[in-house]
Protein backbone atom coordinates (compact mmCIF):
# COMPACT_ATOMS: atom_id res chain seq x y z
CA UNK A 1 0.00 0.00 0.00
CA UNK A 2 1.43 3.37 -0.94
CA UNK A 3 1.62 6.16 1.59
CA UNK A 4 0.45 9.71 1.06
CA UNK A 5 4.14 10.74 0.68
CA UNK A 6 4.56 8.22 -2.14
CA UNK A 7 1.41 9.48 -3.81
CA UNK A 8 2.55 13.11 -3.65
CA UNK A 9 5.97 12.11 -4.93
CA UNK A 10 4.33 10.43 -7.89
CA UNK A 11 2.17 13.49 -8.55
CA UNK A 12 5.22 15.79 -8.50
CA UNK A 13 7.07 13.45 -10.83
CA UNK A 14 4.30 13.42 -13.41
CA UNK A 15 3.83 17.16 -13.11
CA UNK A 16 7.55 17.58 -13.75
CA UNK A 17 7.39 15.32 -16.80
CA UNK A 18 4.33 17.21 -18.06
CA UNK A 19 5.97 20.60 -17.62
CA UNK A 20 9.15 19.37 -19.32
CA UNK A 21 7.09 18.05 -22.26
CA UNK A 22 5.23 21.35 -22.46
CA UNK A 23 8.53 23.25 -22.43
CA UNK A 24 9.98 21.07 -25.19
CA UNK A 25 6.77 21.54 -27.20
CA UNK A 26 6.88 25.31 -26.86
CA UNK A 27 10.58 25.39 -27.72
CA UNK A 28 9.93 23.19 -30.76
CA UNK A 29 7.10 25.42 -31.89
CA UNK A 30 9.06 28.64 -31.44
CA UNK A 31 12.17 27.38 -33.15
CA UNK A 32 10.61 25.60 -36.13
CA UNK A 33 11.28 27.34 -39.44
CA UNK A 34 8.51 29.11 -41.27
CA UNK A 35 7.09 26.63 -43.71
CA UNK A 36 7.76 27.15 -47.40
CA UNK A 37 9.66 30.41 -47.02
CA UNK A 38 9.80 31.71 -50.55
CA UNK A 39 10.05 35.04 -52.27
CA UNK A 40 8.72 36.48 -55.45
CA UNK A 41 10.61 38.56 -57.96
CA UNK A 42 8.83 40.55 -60.61
CA UNK A 43 10.43 40.43 -64.02
CA UNK A 44 10.05 44.02 -65.14
CA UNK A 45 9.64 44.93 -68.85
CA UNK A 46 13.22 46.22 -68.85
CA UNK A 47 14.53 42.85 -67.69
CA UNK A 48 12.41 40.98 -70.24
CA UNK A 49 13.59 43.31 -72.99
CA UNK A 50 17.21 42.42 -72.17
CA UNK A 51 16.38 38.79 -72.94
CA UNK A 52 15.85 39.69 -76.60
CA UNK A 53 19.64 39.86 -76.98
CA UNK A 54 19.64 36.08 -76.55
CA UNK A 55 22.12 36.16 -73.68
CA UNK A 56 21.33 35.26 -70.10
CA UNK A 57 22.07 37.62 -67.20
CA UNK A 58 21.87 37.73 -63.42
CA UNK A 59 19.36 39.89 -61.59
CA UNK A 60 17.73 39.78 -58.16
CA UNK A 61 19.25 36.46 -57.21
CA UNK A 62 18.10 34.86 -60.46
CA UNK A 63 19.78 33.99 -63.75
CA UNK A 64 17.39 34.81 -66.56
CA UNK A 65 17.45 33.14 -69.95
CA UNK A 66 14.92 32.35 -72.69
CA UNK A 67 12.97 34.95 -74.59
CA UNK A 68 10.84 37.92 -73.48
CA UNK A 69 7.71 35.87 -74.17
CA UNK A 70 8.98 32.63 -72.58
CA UNK A 71 11.52 33.57 -69.91
CA UNK A 72 13.33 31.03 -67.75
CA UNK A 73 14.87 31.69 -64.34
CA UNK A 74 17.40 29.78 -62.31
CA UNK A 75 18.07 30.53 -58.65
CA UNK A 76 21.62 31.67 -57.98
CA UNK A 77 21.59 30.24 -54.45
CA UNK A 78 24.11 27.42 -54.06
CA UNK A 79 22.45 24.23 -52.85
CA UNK A 80 25.39 23.45 -50.56
CA UNK A 81 25.31 26.31 -48.03
CA UNK A 82 23.27 29.04 -49.76
CA UNK A 83 26.10 31.22 -51.08
CA UNK A 84 25.35 33.26 -54.19
CA UNK A 85 26.84 31.47 -57.23
CA UNK A 86 28.30 33.54 -60.05
CA UNK A 87 27.97 32.97 -63.80
CA UNK A 88 31.27 31.87 -65.36
CA UNK A 89 32.57 33.44 -68.56
CA UNK A 90 32.93 29.95 -70.05
CA UNK A 91 29.32 29.09 -69.17
CA UNK A 92 27.74 27.58 -66.11
CA UNK A 93 28.08 28.82 -62.55
CA UNK A 94 30.66 28.72 -59.78
CA UNK A 95 30.17 29.05 -56.04
CA UNK A 96 32.71 31.40 -54.42
CA UNK A 97 32.43 29.75 -51.00
CA UNK A 98 33.45 26.13 -51.47
CA UNK A 99 34.07 25.84 -55.19
CA UNK A 100 30.96 23.97 -56.38
CA UNK A 101 30.43 24.12 -60.14
CA UNK A 102 27.16 23.94 -62.09
CA UNK A 103 26.50 23.75 -65.80
CA UNK A 104 24.31 26.22 -67.71
CA UNK A 105 21.18 24.26 -66.73
CA UNK A 106 22.12 24.33 -63.07
CA UNK A 107 23.25 20.69 -62.84
CA UNK A 108 26.15 19.96 -60.51
CA UNK A 109 29.41 19.33 -62.35
CA UNK A 110 31.60 19.28 -59.24
CA UNK A 111 30.87 19.35 -55.50
CA UNK A 112 30.57 19.81 -52.61
CA UNK A 113 27.01 20.74 -53.72
CA UNK A 114 24.93 17.66 -54.54
CA UNK A 115 21.64 19.12 -55.75
CA UNK A 116 21.12 21.21 -58.88
CA UNK A 117 20.32 24.91 -58.70
CA UNK A 118 16.61 25.49 -58.13
CA UNK A 119 14.45 26.51 -61.05
CA UNK A 120 12.17 29.44 -60.27
CA UNK A 121 8.49 28.89 -60.95
CA UNK A 122 7.35 31.50 -63.45
CA UNK A 123 3.77 32.57 -63.73
CA UNK A 124 2.11 35.28 -65.73
CA UNK A 125 -0.18 37.60 -63.78
CA UNK A 126 -1.87 39.91 -66.26
CA UNK A 127 0.95 41.33 -68.32
CA UNK A 128 3.55 40.75 -65.62
CA UNK A 129 5.88 37.80 -65.13
CA UNK A 130 6.49 36.74 -61.53
CA UNK A 131 9.32 34.38 -60.58
CA UNK A 132 8.83 32.47 -57.33
CA UNK A 133 11.83 30.86 -55.63
Amino acid sequence: MSSRRDFLGEVWRWMGIGLAALGVGLLWKSLRPARGESREVELTPDLLARLSTGEGFASGGLFLTGTPSVPKALSLECTHLSCRVAPRPAGGFACPCHGSRFDADGRVTSGPARRPLARAVLEKRGDRWIARI
Partner: protein
Protein backbone atom coordinates in the same frame (compact mmCIF):
# COMPACT_ATOMS: atom_id res chain seq x y z
CA UNK B 1 47.39 22.40 9.54
CA UNK B 2 49.42 19.33 8.68
CA UNK B 3 51.11 19.66 5.28
CA UNK B 4 49.89 16.19 4.35
CA UNK B 5 46.31 17.50 4.48
CA UNK B 6 46.85 19.96 1.69
CA UNK B 7 45.06 19.04 -1.53
CA UNK B 8 46.85 19.47 -4.88
CA UNK B 9 44.59 22.47 -5.50
CA UNK B 10 45.68 24.12 -2.29
CA UNK B 11 49.34 23.59 -3.22
CA UNK B 12 48.89 25.10 -6.65
CA UNK B 13 50.97 28.15 -7.50
CA UNK B 14 49.39 31.60 -7.49
CA UNK B 15 49.59 31.81 -11.31
CA UNK B 16 48.62 28.26 -12.20
CA UNK B 17 48.28 28.70 -15.94
CA UNK B 18 50.99 31.17 -16.86
CA UNK B 19 50.38 34.71 -17.95
CA UNK B 20 48.52 34.11 -21.20
CA UNK B 21 45.16 34.17 -19.46
CA UNK B 22 45.77 37.67 -18.14
CA UNK B 23 47.22 38.67 -21.48
CA UNK B 24 44.08 37.42 -23.26
CA UNK B 25 41.99 39.42 -20.80
CA UNK B 26 44.10 42.52 -21.49
CA UNK B 27 43.72 42.11 -25.26
CA UNK B 28 39.99 41.70 -24.68
CA UNK B 29 39.90 45.04 -22.85
CA UNK B 30 41.70 46.75 -25.76
CA UNK B 31 39.35 45.06 -28.24
CA UNK B 32 36.20 46.07 -26.35
CA UNK B 33 37.30 49.68 -25.84
CA UNK B 34 38.35 50.15 -29.47
CA UNK B 35 35.16 48.40 -30.61
CA UNK B 36 33.05 50.71 -28.45
CA UNK B 37 34.74 53.68 -30.12
CA UNK B 38 33.77 52.30 -33.55
CA UNK B 39 30.13 51.54 -32.73
CA UNK B 40 28.76 55.10 -33.25
CA UNK B 41 30.19 55.18 -36.77
CA UNK B 42 28.83 51.82 -37.92
CA UNK B 43 25.44 51.47 -39.56
CA UNK B 44 24.41 47.85 -40.24
CA UNK B 45 22.10 49.01 -43.03
CA UNK B 46 25.07 50.29 -45.05
CA UNK B 47 28.10 48.39 -43.77
CA UNK B 48 30.46 49.12 -46.64
CA UNK B 49 29.76 52.85 -46.50
CA UNK B 50 30.26 52.75 -42.73
CA UNK B 51 33.60 51.07 -43.15
CA UNK B 52 34.69 53.58 -45.78
CA UNK B 53 33.61 56.39 -43.46
CA UNK B 54 35.52 54.88 -40.53
CA UNK B 55 38.65 54.39 -42.59
CA UNK B 56 38.47 57.64 -44.57
CA UNK B 57 36.58 60.25 -42.59
CA UNK B 58 36.67 59.46 -38.87
CA UNK B 59 39.76 60.90 -37.11
CA UNK B 60 42.04 57.96 -36.26
CA UNK B 61 39.33 55.66 -37.67
CA UNK B 62 41.70 53.43 -39.61
CA UNK B 63 43.96 53.13 -36.57
CA UNK B 64 41.00 52.31 -34.30
CA UNK B 65 39.80 49.65 -36.73
CA UNK B 66 43.30 48.13 -36.78
CA UNK B 67 43.48 48.27 -32.99
CA UNK B 68 40.11 46.48 -32.74
CA UNK B 69 40.89 43.80 -35.30
CA UNK B 70 44.44 42.95 -34.19
CA UNK B 71 43.60 42.97 -30.49
CA UNK B 72 40.60 40.70 -31.21
CA UNK B 73 42.83 38.25 -33.08
CA UNK B 74 45.24 38.40 -30.15
CA UNK B 75 42.43 37.59 -27.66
CA UNK B 76 41.79 34.32 -29.45
CA UNK B 77 45.48 33.52 -29.93
CA UNK B 78 46.33 34.16 -26.26
CA UNK B 79 43.23 32.23 -25.14
CA UNK B 80 44.23 29.16 -27.16
CA UNK B 81 47.76 29.25 -25.69
CA UNK B 82 46.17 29.62 -22.25
CA UNK B 83 44.05 26.51 -22.90
CA UNK B 84 47.19 24.54 -23.81
CA UNK B 85 48.88 25.79 -20.62
CA UNK B 86 45.92 24.69 -18.51
CA UNK B 87 45.93 21.22 -20.05
CA UNK B 88 49.72 20.98 -19.75
CA UNK B 89 49.79 22.00 -16.07
CA UNK B 90 46.63 20.02 -15.22
CA UNK B 91 45.09 23.02 -13.49
CA UNK B 92 41.56 22.66 -14.84
CA UNK B 93 40.38 21.20 -11.50
CA UNK B 94 40.88 24.58 -9.81
CA UNK B 95 37.67 25.90 -11.30
CA UNK B 96 34.22 24.88 -10.15
CA UNK B 97 32.26 22.77 -12.65
CA UNK B 98 29.97 25.60 -13.78
CA UNK B 99 32.80 28.11 -14.01
CA UNK B 100 34.85 25.58 -15.99
CA UNK B 101 32.10 25.04 -18.57
CA UNK B 102 31.56 28.79 -18.86
CA UNK B 103 35.30 29.20 -19.37
CA UNK B 104 35.18 26.50 -22.06
CA UNK B 105 32.27 28.33 -23.70
CA UNK B 106 34.58 31.31 -24.15
CA UNK B 107 36.35 29.53 -27.02
CA UNK B 108 33.27 29.14 -29.29
CA UNK B 109 31.99 32.57 -28.20
CA UNK B 110 35.28 34.15 -29.24
CA UNK B 111 35.09 32.35 -32.59
CA UNK B 112 31.53 33.58 -33.06
CA UNK B 113 32.44 37.16 -32.23
CA UNK B 114 35.38 36.96 -34.64
CA UNK B 115 33.13 35.63 -37.39
CA UNK B 116 30.58 38.35 -36.62
CA UNK B 117 33.24 41.01 -37.03
CA UNK B 118 34.25 39.51 -40.37
CA UNK B 119 30.65 39.47 -41.61
CA UNK B 120 30.10 43.08 -40.47
CA UNK B 121 32.62 44.21 -43.13
CA UNK B 122 29.69 43.83 -45.50
CA UNK B 123 31.70 43.33 -48.71
CA UNK B 124 31.19 40.39 -51.08
CA UNK B 125 33.49 38.10 -49.11
CA UNK B 126 31.81 39.01 -45.83
CA UNK B 127 28.34 38.44 -47.29
CA UNK B 128 29.44 35.02 -48.52
CA UNK B 129 30.78 34.22 -45.04
CA UNK B 130 27.41 35.23 -43.63
CA UNK B 131 25.67 32.90 -46.10
CA UNK B 132 27.90 30.00 -45.06
CA UNK B 133 27.26 30.77 -41.40
CA UNK B 134 23.51 30.82 -41.96
CA UNK B 135 23.54 27.63 -44.04
CA UNK B 136 25.64 25.86 -41.43
CA UNK B 137 23.40 26.89 -38.54
CA UNK B 138 20.24 26.08 -40.47
CA UNK B 139 21.53 22.53 -41.01
CA UNK B 140 21.44 21.84 -37.24
CA UNK B 141 18.44 19.58 -36.62
CA UNK B 142 15.34 20.99 -34.90
CA UNK B 143 16.76 24.27 -33.61
CA UNK B 144 18.92 25.25 -36.59
CA UNK B 145 16.54 27.50 -38.53
CA UNK B 146 15.39 29.36 -35.43
CA UNK B 147 18.96 29.75 -34.19
CA UNK B 148 20.08 31.12 -37.57
CA UNK B 149 17.23 33.64 -37.57
CA UNK B 150 18.04 34.68 -33.99
CA UNK B 151 21.76 35.12 -34.57
CA UNK B 152 21.73 36.47 -38.13
CA UNK B 153 18.27 37.96 -38.59
CA UNK B 154 16.11 37.35 -41.65
CA UNK B 155 17.57 36.23 -44.97
CA UNK B 156 17.08 39.55 -46.74
CA UNK B 157 17.46 41.83 -43.74
CA UNK B 158 20.34 44.13 -42.80
CA UNK B 159 23.26 43.14 -40.59
CA UNK B 160 21.45 44.57 -37.55
CA UNK B 161 21.16 41.25 -35.70
CA UNK B 162 24.81 40.39 -36.35
CA UNK B 163 25.90 43.84 -35.15
CA UNK B 164 23.75 43.55 -32.04
CA UNK B 165 25.18 40.19 -31.05
CA UNK B 166 28.74 41.18 -32.01
CA UNK B 167 28.81 44.42 -30.04
CA UNK B 168 26.25 43.39 -27.43
CA UNK B 169 25.15 39.89 -26.46
CA UNK B 170 28.28 37.87 -27.24
CA UNK B 171 30.77 40.54 -26.17
CA UNK B 172 28.97 40.98 -22.85
CA UNK B 173 28.93 37.21 -22.27
CA UNK B 174 32.64 37.01 -23.09
CA UNK B 175 33.41 39.82 -20.65
CA UNK B 176 31.25 38.35 -17.86
CA UNK B 177 32.67 34.84 -18.26
CA UNK B 178 36.20 36.23 -18.38
CA UNK B 179 35.74 38.28 -15.20
CA UNK B 180 34.23 35.25 -13.46
CA UNK B 181 36.99 32.99 -14.73
CA UNK B 182 39.84 35.33 -13.81
CA UNK B 183 38.16 36.54 -10.59
CA UNK B 184 39.60 39.92 -11.49
CA UNK B 185 38.18 43.14 -12.87
CA UNK B 186 41.57 44.61 -13.78
CA UNK B 187 43.93 42.14 -15.48
CA UNK B 188 47.05 43.82 -14.13
CA UNK B 189 49.34 46.67 -15.21
CA UNK B 190 52.02 44.58 -16.93
CA UNK B 191 49.77 42.45 -19.18
CA UNK B 192 47.57 45.47 -19.90
CA UNK B 193 50.59 47.54 -20.93
CA UNK B 194 51.98 44.72 -23.07
CA UNK B 195 48.62 44.10 -24.77
CA UNK B 196 48.17 47.80 -25.49
CA UNK B 197 51.67 48.18 -26.91
CA UNK B 198 51.34 45.08 -29.13
CA UNK B 199 47.89 46.15 -30.38
CA UNK B 200 49.01 49.73 -31.05
CA UNK B 201 52.11 48.46 -32.84
CA UNK B 202 50.11 46.06 -35.02
CA UNK B 203 47.49 48.72 -35.80
CA UNK B 204 50.20 51.16 -36.82
CA UNK B 205 52.29 48.77 -38.88
CA UNK B 206 49.89 46.27 -40.48
CA UNK B 207 47.23 47.24 -43.00
CA UNK B 208 43.78 45.67 -43.19
CA UNK B 209 41.92 44.69 -46.35
CA UNK B 210 38.94 46.73 -47.47
CA UNK B 211 37.00 45.53 -50.47
CA UNK B 212 36.58 42.39 -52.56
CA UNK B 213 38.91 39.39 -52.28
CA UNK B 214 41.80 39.04 -54.73
CA UNK B 215 40.55 37.98 -58.19
CA UNK B 216 40.94 34.36 -59.20
CA UNK B 217 40.37 32.89 -55.75
CA UNK B 218 37.81 30.12 -56.16
CA UNK B 219 36.91 29.60 -52.53
CA UNK B 220 36.11 31.74 -49.54
CA UNK B 221 38.78 31.84 -46.83
CA UNK B 222 37.08 33.82 -44.04
CA UNK B 223 38.60 34.49 -40.60
CA UNK B 224 41.93 32.73 -40.05
CA UNK B 225 40.69 30.77 -37.05
CA UNK B 226 37.89 29.21 -39.09
CA UNK B 227 39.98 28.19 -42.11
CA UNK B 228 39.91 24.58 -40.91
CA UNK B 229 36.13 24.64 -40.77
CA UNK B 230 35.95 26.07 -44.28
CA UNK B 231 38.29 23.32 -45.48
CA UNK B 232 36.08 20.67 -43.90
CA UNK B 233 33.01 22.08 -45.62
CA UNK B 234 34.64 21.61 -49.02
CA UNK B 235 35.34 17.93 -48.50
CA UNK B 236 33.09 16.61 -45.75
CA UNK B 237 29.33 16.51 -45.08
CA UNK B 238 27.78 19.76 -43.88
CA UNK B 239 26.79 18.22 -40.51
CA UNK B 240 30.48 17.97 -39.59
CA UNK B 241 30.66 21.74 -39.94
CA UNK B 242 28.87 22.10 -36.62
CA UNK B 243 29.52 18.55 -35.34
CA UNK B 244 33.31 18.94 -35.17
CA UNK B 245 33.27 22.27 -33.24
CA UNK B 246 30.65 20.81 -30.91
CA UNK B 247 32.84 17.75 -30.34
CA UNK B 248 35.89 19.95 -29.70
CA UNK B 249 34.04 21.98 -27.07
CA UNK B 250 32.57 18.86 -25.46
CA UNK B 251 36.00 17.21 -25.23
CA UNK B 252 37.50 20.36 -23.75
CA UNK B 253 34.70 20.48 -21.20
CA UNK B 254 35.14 16.78 -20.40
CA UNK B 255 38.79 17.35 -19.57
CA UNK B 256 37.92 18.52 -16.06
CA UNK B 257 35.96 15.39 -15.22
CA UNK B 258 38.47 12.92 -16.64
CA UNK B 259 41.42 11.44 -14.84
CA UNK B 260 44.19 8.95 -15.57
CA UNK B 261 43.87 7.04 -18.83
CA UNK B 262 40.57 8.72 -19.64
CA UNK B 263 42.26 12.12 -19.50
CA UNK B 264 44.91 10.82 -21.87
CA UNK B 265 42.20 9.65 -24.25
CA UNK B 266 40.40 13.00 -24.16
CA UNK B 267 43.66 14.84 -24.80
CA UNK B 268 44.52 12.48 -27.67
CA UNK B 269 41.10 13.03 -29.25
CA UNK B 270 41.46 16.80 -28.82
CA UNK B 271 44.93 16.72 -30.35
CA UNK B 272 43.71 14.69 -33.32
CA UNK B 273 40.86 17.10 -34.01
CA UNK B 274 43.16 20.12 -33.73
CA UNK B 275 45.62 18.51 -36.14
CA UNK B 276 42.76 17.76 -38.56
CA UNK B 277 41.64 21.40 -38.23
CA UNK B 278 45.16 22.58 -39.12
CA UNK B 279 45.38 20.12 -42.03
CA UNK B 280 42.07 21.36 -43.46
CA UNK B 281 43.27 24.95 -43.03
CA UNK B 282 46.30 24.14 -45.19
CA UNK B 283 44.07 22.28 -47.64
CA UNK B 284 41.79 25.27 -48.29
CA UNK B 285 44.73 27.66 -48.53
CA UNK B 286 46.23 25.42 -51.22
CA UNK B 287 42.83 25.20 -52.94
CA UNK B 288 42.46 28.99 -52.91
CA UNK B 289 45.95 29.43 -54.30
CA UNK B 290 45.41 26.88 -57.04
CA UNK B 291 42.22 28.27 -58.59
Amino acid sequence: MDRADLTPEAEAPARPSGNFGKLAYSFLAVSLLSGAALVPHYDPVSPLLSLETIVGAVPLGSFLRGLHVWSSFAVLGATLIHVVQVAWRRTEGQLGLGAWWRAVALVPLLLLVLLGGFVLRGDAEARAAGDVWRGLMASIPVVGQGLAAFVLGGVHESLGAVALHHAGTVSILVLLFTIEHARLVWPGTRPATLATLVSVGAAGLLSLPLGPPPPGRGVLLGPWALLGLQGMLVDLPVALGWGVPLLLVTLLGALRASTGRMRGGVLAALGTLVLAWIAFSVRILLLAGGR
